[in-house]
């Protein structure tokens, strides 16, 4: 996935990737990544868990603007279903 991300970024579009295997992301070095130690097939979380999915989407979008070093990986603090997604920070400014 990181290879595709690199080609899109080269074309002049800013990208953010979700990773669930940090080791691969470190080698492929896409421009921006948020990492979750979650099961395969579940990058946005569990089926029907709207709050969890929304939290991952918002943090990914936040990282598009907060990452300023090419190749940076942000480790998201979400602990799968043990996390309280109700208190996740809601939208901020998302400004360049």
């Amino acid at each position: 996935m990181g290879l595709i991300q690199r080609e899109i970024e080269k074309c002049g579009i800013a990208t953010i990737g979700i990773s669930i295997v940090r080791e691969f992301t470190e080698k492929v070095r896409p421009p921006r990544t948020v990492f979750l130690r979650w099961p395969f097939g579940h990058p946005l979380g569990e089926p029907g868990n709207v709050r969890q999915q929304r939290a991952v989407v918002l943090e990914s979008l936040r990282a598009l603007y907060s990452i300023t070093t090419p190749g940076e990986i942000i480790d998201l603090p979400f602990r799968w279903r043990r996390h309280d997604y109700q208190n996740n920070q809601e939208p901020g400014s998302f400004m360049p």
Partner: protein, 171 residues
């Protein structure tokens, strides 16, 4: 066919017991680049941007050709996803992960409902009409095809679609 069943069984086991996945992660050597990391700054605030999703989770419309699961190097082609209809018209062709949960709720691999809500709330300027789907698990000779041909084609299409930002989701 036996190989496909074996791959699906392994996928189910490592999804349920993530610690076992570590063996497969260690055994796989991803492509590494000497080139610098490409970099484009987001030019505008999110509320003025058009956003598209690119996934490698193997999702496609029912009427589209499924990804080729016979080639052990994977399938480097892509499918164009219509954002308005995919939620009620999708299949997942991918033997290397357990997609039974994604079949219950597409948003866990392609979060278009969540992004639509953010568009309605004015957080995102606009959600693109078209999104793009790959299969992932590309290896061997198809890595070159992916980098030199199909990833570039998707990048060009995204530019033509006037997309400003892309979210990429794996399986």
């Amino acid at each position: 066919m036996t190989n496909r069943l074996k791959n699906r069984l392994i996928a189910k086991v490592i999804t349920r017991f993530p610690n076992l996945a570590q063996r497969f992660i260690t055994a796989y050597t991803p492509w590494e680049s000497d080139e610098p990391v490409p970099w484009t700054r987001p030019a505008r605030p999110l509320r003025e941007c058009t956003l598209a999703v690119v996934t490698t989770a193997g999702v496609h419309h029912r009427g589209q050709a499924p990804f080729d699961m016979q080639d052990s190097d994977g399938d480097p082609s892509f499918r164009v996803i219509d954002g308005a209809s995919i939620g009620s018209d999708y299949r997942i062709t991918h033997d290397y992960y357990d997609h039974s949960d994604a079949e219950k709720d597409l948003n866990i691999i392609l979060p278009l409902d969540r992004l639509r809500e953010l568009q309605q709330q004015g957080v995102i300027g606009r959600l693109a009409d078209r999104h793009y789907s790959f299969m992932g698990h590309i290896d061997g000779r198809h890595i070159r095809t992916l980098i030199a041909v199909t990833a570039k084609q998707v990048a060009e299409r995204l530019c033509k679609d006037h997309v400003d930002l892309v979210l990429l989701t794996p399986a």
